[in-house]
Subunit: 221 residues, 2 copies
């Protein structure tokens, strides 16, 4: 069965996975981009987000880039919390919002967006189709697994969504990129979670150029 | 003025600085020793705790050992929370308890123990004298600074004591040794603390053999 994976998930030293006050202007919250400042310089970022970079050929190679590559290898589907898809709250006013990523999002596979408000699937250029799932986290995982065709499913976030899947013991492996920054406020990834009791252990860590990469794995019970 | 420093302070990936259920048998709490499993193999540990080691000559050198050395360089006095001095709670029943460290503790300087219950100073072999301070954290710091003779003061812990001094903005620098383990329960070092608001930034990190060493410094406001 395909695994459910979290990859390249930035966390501050003090355990925050997003800054406070998320909004259209600050999708990762205030100071949230500092959690991803190891990712933005990589070749993977340049390749997957060429419009913001140097035509897909730039970016650094190295440990951080190797770690970022793991986030795109063999993913058959993604799951996103609604806030990762957009800043819209409540019922969809119309279908104008098509995600943060422009006409060709970097997924290139089916993406399942958790929401309380139904919406028709949205096919984008490059193979990404957004499906809106109102049945909860188990339902989204079942749909994503069915769509992944035996490949793995990546849970993109955000923090609240990752916490929900952790609490339910559904995530097989998490790659956290611990950044040497303090946020002080925001979404506390570990608060109230007893990860060992949920079956998780730290399997390995790798020092990167701009982050410390740790891999948490759930033991099959 | 001498600085107040935290050194070699072990923290789990999920932010715990001690395990749950601290006791005479488990002074660091259940699984707490895993937070110090980077320190026990070092030459510094062997030198400072020779009775538990190989006569003071063994132990590993390397990055972790270099980081451990910082904890003993130029310290003129220490401050400890009462639980770091011993498991006795409430008024001292007698003067039988002389700390966890035997006749010659590894401090070799004056040590100020925070407690609500007065007790006469206790002079040990090797230059360590335990002073029992009932006037609170500011009073202990003033006494330690006076005793340190211009050298720095090390705050040894435990977690609750470090949190009190952080909240008061009194710690100049913290060296945390982040271990690749998950505890899930215990004393959460960062809970409810907004370290940037208190003036702290992460100054640098160094990858060691068994821990990721991070240095937090308070900006002089």
């Amino acid at each position: 069965m395909s695994r459910l994976l979290v990859r390249s998930f930035g966390v501050s030293l003090d355990g925050f996975a997003a800054g406070p006050a998320q909004s259209l202007e600050h999708p990762l919250g205030l100071r949230g981009p500092e959690l991803m400042d190891w990712f933005f310089p990589t070749r993977v970022w340049q390749r997957t987000h060429p419009s913001g970079g140097e035509g897909g050929e730039g970016g650094e190679t190295g440990v951080d880039n190797d770690m970022a590559e793991l986030g795109f290898a063999e993913m058959g589907a993604w799951i996103l919390g609604r806030n990762m898809f957009g800043p819209v709250r409540g019922p969809w006013p119309d279908e104008a919002w098509k995600g943060w990523w422009g006409d060709e999002p970097p997924y290139h596979v089916p993406v399942f967006v958790l929401t309380h408000h139904a919406r028709a699937p949205l096919a984008m250029q490059g193979g990404t189709t957004f499906h809106f799932v109102t049945g909860g986290i188990h339902e989204a995982l079942a749909q994503a697994r069915a769509a992944a065709g035996g490949r793995d499913v990546r849970l993109g976030g955000g923090a609240a969504t990752v916490r929900q899947y952790l609490q339910a013991g559904l995530i097989d492996e998490l790659h956290l990129a611990v950044r040497p920054v303090l946020l002080g406020q925001g979404e506390a990834l570990f608060a109230g979670l007893d990860l060992p009791a949920l079956g998780y252990v730290c399997e390995r860590q790798v020092a990167g150029e701009r982050a410390n990469h740790v891999f948490l794995r759930r033991r099959r019970g």
